[in-house]
Symmetry: C2
Subunit: 699 residues, 2 copies
């Protein structure tokens, strides 16, 4: 047999990606590209030079792309698609930024034009004065705040009384939430919690329980202090997760390391600036300080017509709501809104090549504005890789032909776009997985460290009352909590105008009597589909565990040859928890959208953030539930799916000191979108694909 050598194409691929990026960068950015460092710098100059905001100091809390109007972007994309093969580009759209800055104890909203980054201009200015809530906390003010306690006498005394060395103490900033009243909304405050970091990287496992501090973030001063109760600080032993610090490596056998090799190269992934083209998919990967990964303009090639068809205009994680379930003074307020309060993009850190993402991954860097407005570079923030999981795309073995066995199998290769958000103690691995079948699968994997409470308990037998958690180690209670990851998905199924269809599974009785419409058979029951087309937003709220059925987004104007409406449907894969907090409880009012998994709203460019724009100390006066209460028409409109993937997390000892990944997922699956299986004609792998003789050398 011929012994053909294939060179591993990985280095070439990365080079190619880099070149493409450069080639694209030489002309103008895609209208949905995140702000470049130069553009962020220009935004900063314009804001600081503007007479509209006189007060100083001025701090930047959010700087992001103010994307052009949807029709303009769609027109650009259509032109881009048409002209791409001729290597000419459509005219650039204006480049604008949306800014939230704090100055003079007020939140300022500015729109800045940076189309020409050497002469940026402020287009509009408003003060967010009337409504409650504050912008995302900056990283810098959190660093400043945690420097306060070691110099604060009452805290020094609290630490001394616990026999802890101040050098070992590390503090963190926790949003206060909102619990009624007006006072809290007038001051931008946060709580601070402190931990003992000596002897472990896992300081979350060693809380200085019982101490509550409130810091005024605008004044940068501790304004409230209480040392209510003193519990033992859990010991450091057994808490560290770092290699070499967690004890000797496992003695037993372990899986062998593996590397994916693409003998024919990975020419399948083309990265052109922020646009990714792979197999039948094309999409734009953006980045935002608050949302993290922003996916836009996802379209899929119709194999029968060769036409590229739209699926998703824009999708991102709108919020991550994490309420804890202990009502005591030190815990009741812990009801985090990670995107709005902390910023998912701000808390995304460089991915580790080879472990966070496999060896065949390519990476995107990210840029955000620091508190001073200057661009901050974050390397390897998003990775893209072809996934070879050993799955099957479709198959059949036919044993029905006498003396003949027919087997046809097509292996599955998918494309994953991954970001990891380490929002304090928890790590969220957020995957977008594109399948050649036309599906998009969203996977949320939880890992990282538990948020634990110091306790006198050292054994479960001592616990007589509700401890609100699991005793995972001596003096260490892991508190019950939820995770609600809410996606904003502006589906444009084969076009902008869509409807939301609920196909409920409904049991019917068969009378057996044709004169009453029955079938003359002894079958007594069957189910059929009761189709409901949602008219208004009230019809768009669905508790997916309450009734079985399929939920679809269809384009009533686009039908298959058979006359079925082109659609995509939502398929949940676990993690369908919804909030069970009382509707009148304050955290539930702030995140009231978490009571059902599905909401559908008409597209509105200002409706992005499920708990409202100003999530910190929000009161529930803005956000998804408020918008949806207007009960606008959603039939035959440009509509948006809001899907919340939820978990009730009862911790177990295995989750300590670092939690093995727990995943939930959902899928958007083409459903009468194509005339038939779009990968029916997928290429059969060459005979050699399973008989490769591969060898590797360390570079």
């Amino acid at each position: 047999m011929a012994r053909t050598q294939f060179a591993a194409m990985l280095p070439l691929f990365l080079l190619l990606a880099a070149l493409c990026g450069t080639a694209s960068g030489a002309s103008h950015p895609h209208p949905l590209d995140p702000l470049s460092p130069a553009e962020i710098t220009a935004v900063r100059s314009a804001v600081l030079a503007s007479p509209l905001v006189a007060a100083r100091p001025l701090t930047f809390h959010y700087v992001g792309l103010d994307e052009p109007d949807k029709p303009d972007v769609l027109a650009y994309a259509a032109r881009h698609s048409a002209t791409r093969r001729r290597m000419v580009e459509p005219d650039a759209l204006p480049r604008r930024a949306f800014v939230i800055a704090r100055a003079g104890r007020a939140s300022h909203e500015l729109r800045v034009d940076v189309t020409n980054s050497s002469s940026p201009s402020v287009l509009s200015h408003a003060v967010h004065a009337a409504g409650p809530g504050f912008p995302t906390l900056t990283l810098e003010e959190q660093f400043d705040a945690v420097a306060l306690p070691p110099k604060y006498a009452p805290f020094v005394e609290s630490v001394r009384r616990r026999g802890v060395a101040m050098d070992d103490v590390l503090c963190a900033v926790f949003p206060v939430g909102w619990f009624g009243g007006e006072a809290s909304a007038s001051k931008r405050v946060a709580k601070m919690l402190c931990f003992v970091a000596g002897g472990t990287a896992n300081f979350y496992a060693r809380p200085i329980e019982g101490v509550t501090m409130v810091v005024d973030l605008d004044e940068m001063a501790i304004v409230e202090y209480r040392d209510r109760v003193r519990y033992p600080v859990p010991k450091a032993e057994g808490t560290d997760y770092r290699a070499g610090k967690a004890g000797a490596p496992l003695a037993g056998p372990e899986p062998a390391p593996g590397v994916v090799v693409q003998p024919e190269g990975s020419s399948g992934v083309h990265i052109d600036g922020h646009v990714v083209r792979w197999a039948n998919w094309e999409f734009h990967v953006g980045f935002d300080m608050r949302a993290g990964t922003v996916m836009s303009l996802a379209s899929v090639l119709d194999p029968d017509t060769g036409v590229r068809r739209r699926v998703l205009y824009r999708g991102f994680v709108s919020e991550v709501f994490v309420p804890y379930m202990d009502p005591v003074e030190e815990w009741y307020y812990r009801t985090f809104l990670d995107a709005g309060e902390y910023g998912l993009g701000l808390w995304a850190f460089p991915l580790q090549p080879g472990t966070d993402c496999p060896s065949n991954a390519a990476y995107f860097d990210g840029y955000y504005a620091g508190q001073d407005g200057k661009p901050v570079h974050n390397e390897n923030m998003i990775c893209v890789f072809e996934r070879y999981a050993g799955d099957v795309a479709w198959r059949h073995t036919e044993a029905g032909f006498p003396g003949q066995l027919i087997t046809e199998v097509r292996p599955d290769v998918t494309l994953v776009v991954r970001m990891v958000v380490s929002a304090g103690n928890y790590d969220y691995i957020l995957d977008w997985e594109f399948k050649t079948s036309g599906s998009i699968r969203f996977v949320v994997s939880l890992t990282g460290l538990l948020e634990v409470k110091g306790t006198p308990y050292t054994h479960a037998d001592q616990i007589k009352a509700d401890a609100h958690g699991t005793l995972v180690a001596e003096n260490t209670l892991a508190i019950y909590h939820d995770h609600y990851v809410t996606y904003h998905l502006d589906l444009d199924v084969d076009g902008t105008t869509n409807s939301f269809v609920k196909n409920f599974i409904t049991t019917k009785r068969n009378s057996g009597n044709p004169t009453t419409g029955g079938a003359p058979t002894p079958r007594r029951s069957y189910w059929t589909v009761r189709r409901e087309v949602a008219e208004t937003e009230a019809d768009g709220r669905v508790d997916i565990d309450s009734k079985p059925g399929d939920l679809l987004f269809v384009n009533p104007g686009k039908k298959t040859r058979m006359g079925n409406e082109a659609g995509y449907r939502l398929v949940s894969s676990g993690a369908t928890a919804a909030s069970v907090l009382a509707a009148d409880d304050f955290p539930q009012r702030r995140a009231s959208y978490s009571r059902t998994q599905v909401w559908v709203t008409p597209y509105n460019r200002s409706e992005k953030w499920a708990p409202g724009v100003y999530a910190d100390q929000s009161t529930g006066e803005d956000g998804l539930a408020v918008w949806s209460a207007r009960n606008r028409r959603i039939r035959n409109e440009d509509i948006v799916l809001w899907y919340t993937l939820g978990l009730h997390h009862i911790p177990y000892q295995e989750d300590f000191p670092v939690m093995p990944t727990l995943s939930g997922a959902f899928e958007l699956r083409p459903s009468n979108f194509f005339e038939r299986n779009p990968i029916l004609r997928a290429r059969v792998p060459s005979d050699g694909a399973h008989s490769q003789n591969c060898s590797c050398s360390v570079r």
Copy 2:
């Protein structure tokens, strides 16, 4: 940098596996090993020589291992584990077979000792006369039956009237189910449906609709015939799925083929006969004509003590219930019990290396008894492979230390044991995935061909009444149906005696008033865990969509150092549908267990098959619901979990002519089983793992 060459270890690994198998085969079989060809031959001789069954012809419908009593197997396994390192083996246990044979219109049950395969002996004999139901259909009688229609004059006329050439016609045998009355239960009959296979391998897509035939399988004669209605036979065009027959390969870009290379070899997977050892796992892989893969004696190593701890005694798919939802004469009875009527092992065919399983897979062959009792060899029936999906086992990035970013990541490698069952038109990919975290994940992936109905409709606009399905092509309705895959999982969590615990999530109000037990905070609500320990089987039935919570199997006699009961919990990942048929409907009576996803029963070695032993034409007088109705005690007992993974399948055009894989899954996850994360000390991949320079050549 040093340029070290690693040879790909794949060929060596397969050789090693083969050698180990041989080495083990030289002594005696493991007591749970499936019957060997020699043992099947011995069973046949003993049965045919026995004077207990005089009637002829005698046909074998089931021949399987009659496994030794559980305490004997556990004692063997304990001795085996203790002696393994000294290379001596424990004493063999008796080898016995359970046989169901048909002779003289009766079902005979025989137990045959084959400990010495040269002198086998029948230990017991019984006639299944009283109860209803019949054994699994043999492949041979189905082949014989489908040869009848082309010689049956009324059918010849029906085919002629439809303008179809008889050479193109192919028929298949469909179980009749049971729809009341006694008559049906006295004769072993089946229905036959015929299709037009000319011009396509996908004959299921071209039904000769309107014709119903009943064949008496013991007489091997057509006993009923009706040609009720004539609809157009759907056209062949667009139905074939074979490469080269489905049209030109896709013109657009496609994913690049990939190969997993294990630069340090795959020494992690050790196969010793039917025992697999990998990382911290050890288990036995068996095979059964009815169940397919049978997994036994799964145990996991405790990293802190070095002790191997039991998790699962025995697990397999007990039944696959697939009811269709059209009450008309030609469809009402299609309510398949694929395991009991057809046999999952009988309908598992050779896996395709490189596509069904990746290039690093090893394979097990399988043997079953043909209708004549002779052993039939089925190659590559089960595969085992390490899965490198690009997943993360655990990770954390810590940004809380000033001026320092800590990131620790452990990539996930899992072990998959896969079988594919092609039960007629559908293909079920059945995966057991073992994780180093101690989890076992069960994945069911549906693919294959839809069962469709001929119809005059050529466009959805013509459909005015309930069509019971989706028009997926001209004259082709894909009928609504369900898939219920029921697992029998005899969990032995850290020992034989377990309890079933339901930890329900329960909302509590906080009064805010300490005098009434409230916390003096403004938080108004929280949830806590209401623990219920199931006392009897009635408490063991759970509709998992009705109330949120965790379902656990715990060993009340084994506690962690913290005092928590050692447990495993059930985590569902989609596909949680339960049957919505009326309780009094006949198919629902036969598969009444399908109304809830979870049942828990005390272990009873005879309770294996959810719809009862004799599933063909069963009436619901045997099976899981009947056993459970005895309401036996399940607290602190040896208990069994029955979990049904279910899907309501509304077909869409993409599912035609072959369906892209749709998966559902569930996980058994250690929950206070270990003292802490068992892979905390997992090895960090070497620096080189992501910087391999690999090349491949075709062998």
